[in-house]
Symmetry: C2
Subunit: 558 residues, 2 copies
């Protein structure tokens, strides 16, 4: 018997009407703005009325240093949410929305997998409720207003060589990375070199995911620095009077989306900033909403714990006043083997020795996470070709760290495969007796913040940054941006900046290539090594095989 594919499992599921899912969290029908029968936005007016309610417990799912295929963070987030519901808890999950563009490159699918999925998965991987399109529009309106302002006389004296705001598109299109616009004569404006990023890399995306409410959204949008004058004075979106119209474009997008898991449990899917040049977490507004409505909220953060969890703590929790009550570190035998030196093509071959070696990566992530003052357990996301010998090695390594480890089989079995973890996480979150601790205080100088992340999380010996970068950081401190957190943009495949250096590398240094100020989102992006903000399509893009079948169902997308 062949294992059904994700999409086959998803289509076989019995979907409940979205109003019934909302009712599970006591969301009244009129507070749900439906998008079809299986998706809804939660109305802002309803959200506004919840402020006095107590919060549920917040559980973060993160992972060890991943393989390119990922370790199943989303799958485990979905599984744990279903598991908590299975054992009688009132639980919801909060995950990110998927980006459209990459679905046409390599295989898509950002809605979990196997028997731990969020549905309707086709919609989630296509236009969903239009949030990303709204972000694209708001971003590009600002872009158009910049060039338009220059065209009509440039009253603000924008230095055309110092326009830092690009355009965005939710498409993998390498041709748009670098271009000269406004060719063709005076009617088309002043020629200028610029380019497009993918929408998930837009600062507008990060802002939407960090804003408290519509007023805060507009304030942050207004704060965006789009360009500088010849005297290097910043020009903001507010100076162009773009913030109001951008807010109007984002009004509906600010409302969290409600869908359901395969087991008909509530799932909030809202926002999806890049995990490199942004913070890689779902929206603050949806996490807060879920905490008001559910007793347990399971969420995740992009990439491994060195990047995702660190940013979740030091950016999202810091800014939103959130505290996780428990952390689940997801590991797979495959990723441990890769961290133990095995190449991608050999990952399916049994190799307990490599697992043993790879465990150094896991234990370092454990140590890092404990430093934030939250209880941590390890979830093994079981794959069908894992052997008992490999699993034993992994279990023993975790237990040697005085940490509990749970074998999880939610991918194959749904919530029944993750009951033990669910019980333990609920109990840990209920009884957290440690104090949540951020990695660094707001008032630490920016460069010291970078060093702190590099030394304490990446275990580097130091940070390399030239005088230009240190000078830029000093300038921003002088301008009042010194209290911002740093958003590290680094490869997710290593604790170092070298994607080939697996395991638990030591003795390395972190090279800072560039720093960027996201004044609206409220962080300083620190770019360590190459970072891609507009992906390309592969030689044979997935798009070539995507089509509707005879029943007008999507095929080839997953």
């Amino acid at each position: 018997m062949t294992q059904p594919t994700d999409i086959e499992i998803a289509r076989a599921a019995t979907k409940h009407k979205i109003q019934a899912i909302g009712a599970r969290l006591d969301i009244p029908e009129e507070a749900l703005l439906p998008y079809g029968h299986d998706k809804a936005k939660v109305a802002q007016g309803f959200i506004d009325g919840l402020t006095d309610r107590p919060n549920g417990k917040l559980i973060l799912v993160t992972a060890i240093t991943p393989t390119p295929a990922g370790e199943g963070k989303t799958t485990t987030t979905v599984g744990l949410g279903d598991g908590l519901n299975r054992i009688g808890k009132r639980a919801a999950i909060c995950i990110r929305e998927a980006s459209l563009g990459p679905c046409f490159g390599l295989k898509g699918g950002a809605a979990g997998g196997g028997h731990a999925q969020v549905i309707p998965m086709e919609d989630m991987n296509l236009h969903f409720t239009g949030d990303f399109h709204a972000i694209t529009s708001a971003h590009n309106l600002l872009s158009a207003m910049i060039d338009n302002h220059i065209h009509w006389g440039n009253e603000l004296q924008i230095d055309q060589r110092r326009v830092v705001w690009r355009r965005v598109m939710d498409m993998n299109d390498r041709a748009l990375r670098d271009m000269v616009t406004s060719l063709g004569g005076a009617a088309n404006g002043f020629p200028r070199q610029t380019g497009f990023d993918i929408t998930v890399a837009s600062e507008v995306m990060a802002i939407l995911c960090l804003a408290d409410d519509l007023a805060d959204l507009q304030r942050r949008l207004g704060d965006i620095i789009v360009a500088y004058t010849r005297e290097k004075e910043p020009i903001r979106a507010r100076d162009l009077k773009a913030d109001g119209a951008m807010t109007v474009l984002l009004r509906d997008a600010m409302q969290p989306n409600l869908v359901q898991t395969l087991e008909n449990n509530p799932a909030f899917v809202h926002g999806g900033p890049f995990a490199n040049i942004a913070h890689g977490c779902n929206s603050v507004i949806s996490t807060r909403l879920a905490l008001k409505l559910a007793d347990y909220v399971v969420t995740e953060a992009g990439f491994g714990a060195d990047l995702g969890a660190e940013k979740f703590m030091d950016i999202k929790c810091r800014k939103a006043g959130l505290e996780p009550d428990a952390v689940v570190l997801v590991a797979t035998v495959r990723s441990l083997k890769m961290n133990g030196g095995v190449t991608k093509d050999d990952l399916s071959r049994e190799n307990p020795g490599a697992v043993q070696q790879g465990c150094a990566n896991l234990t370092r992530h454990l140590e890092n996470l404990r430093g934030f003052g939250v209880p941590v357990v390890v979830a093994i996301n079981r794959f069908t070709d894992d052997t008992d010998a490999e699993l034993d090695v992994l279990r023993q390594a975790v237990e040697a760290e005085d940490t509990e480890v749970f074998m999880c089989n939610h991918w194959a079995e749904g919530s029944s495969g993750i009951e033990a973890l669910s019980h333990r996480v609920a109990s840990l979150a209920d009884h957290r007796d440690t104090a949540f601790t951020l990695l660094y205080p707001d008032d630490m100088p920016l460069f010291e913040k970078i060093e702190t992340v590099a030394k304490r999380i990446y275990r580097a010996e130091g940070v390399d940054a030239d005088a230009r970068i240190r000078g830029q950081l000093a300038d921003w401190e002088a301008q009042g941006f010194g209290n911002l957190p740093v958003c590290m943009a680094k490869t997710q495949y290593s604790f170092s900046a070298d994607p080939a250096a697996r395991g638990a590398i030591t003795g390395h240094r972190i090279p800072v290539r560039e720093v960027r100020l996201s004044a609206g989102a409220g962080f300083v992006v620190v770019i360590c090594g190459d970072i891609m903000t507009m992906p390309g399509l592969p030689r044979s893009p997935a798009a070539e095989g995507i089509c509707l079948n005879g029943d007008n169902q999507v095929t080839g997308l997953f």
Copy 2:
């Protein structure tokens, strides 16, 4: 007492739930895919089940040569729909969706006006149900796949100098009109001069509006010619295997949108191709749906009757097998004065003599419309500063043509102001005894088709086209495209190609500057004079004044 604004009137209206609006046309609740509580898409499965039903009567609303502010075609379409419902008829209207970009330039609003509007107007002028975003995505996926194909080896031998498929964005952004992309080295592809058009100018938009169903949509998308080889052989979207994924992106967008008028009557709002380089009509699928559900369907076509009505007949009706049962020609005193030689600033001053002069424009449109073999009446869309003397001149001029004329005050009074017209139009449509006649047969050579429109509709003495254009048309005929209709792109302000030549000009010639083949949409675009496919923003864009008010309502958009 000051007259309330359109948005004040719209907000004061009592909206019914969209399911109740659907019930008026016996659309079952499960066949409506809601978008919030006041918008829905009609499910494809339901539409598929209607084919055996008889069709209602189709009524086209068109206009004389307009002023830049327009003559109230949409307002009259909405008013007539409400009027037909008022007199007890089962009626629906079919109009186009609004483009987002232009709303941030000059004032927006494409949902009628006064007491003849479609609601929710904010949504209709912003993201609505996401159709235009889906079209943008589908268009740009194809663009990305073209450059990607060339980047990875160019197996199809696309001549990079002959890529005719550009990119689109639903934004007024002059900087994107003309650009060089793929700068920055080998990883970004081959540099190439190209640009963006606004989304409503995309051939994908025209295709969506002409396609019979999803299978026809995919066939037409596959037929799009994106480039040529060095040997001038066409390369199609199908050759790039893009048609399937594009269809997937457009699956939801193909379903017509249902909203309501201020008087809670059903309105289908679907598709919105440019009225110059495309045919300027709402979708065939929504018009056909409305004809199956209602006894009377009122629709409109962009620009004046020389452009909009001609394309409605010769492109939309020809391709879809539709026939209008009656035509309403909208005239205003203001537009007659402008056609009579009055400048824009003097339009509010009484001038019966100018009205008299301008009537030559109206009578020519009347003659043209009668040529299609359908009954025509004139609706005077009354403005508050029209005087009795002016209205009398207008009325007498129409009656001298043996044509009925109706004073309509739906803008100020809603359906009670348009009862007489409603009765007459219903009766005319019920008893049409003339044969609908297209202007030219399919098998007429392309250049003769152009001459036929120019001479019989524009009353030009002839057409000027150089050897290059005639040669291009001959090539297309040799390739099998000779049976396509022509889609004339010409100024809407004159029967000639000169926007300053008002009234009923004679003795002019039509210069053809360029011809383009829309092989997927199925027409040959004939460009006469300058034509803009990417608008710019004005010196003080409307966006600067658009924001949310204290109640999170949109202000400044209208």
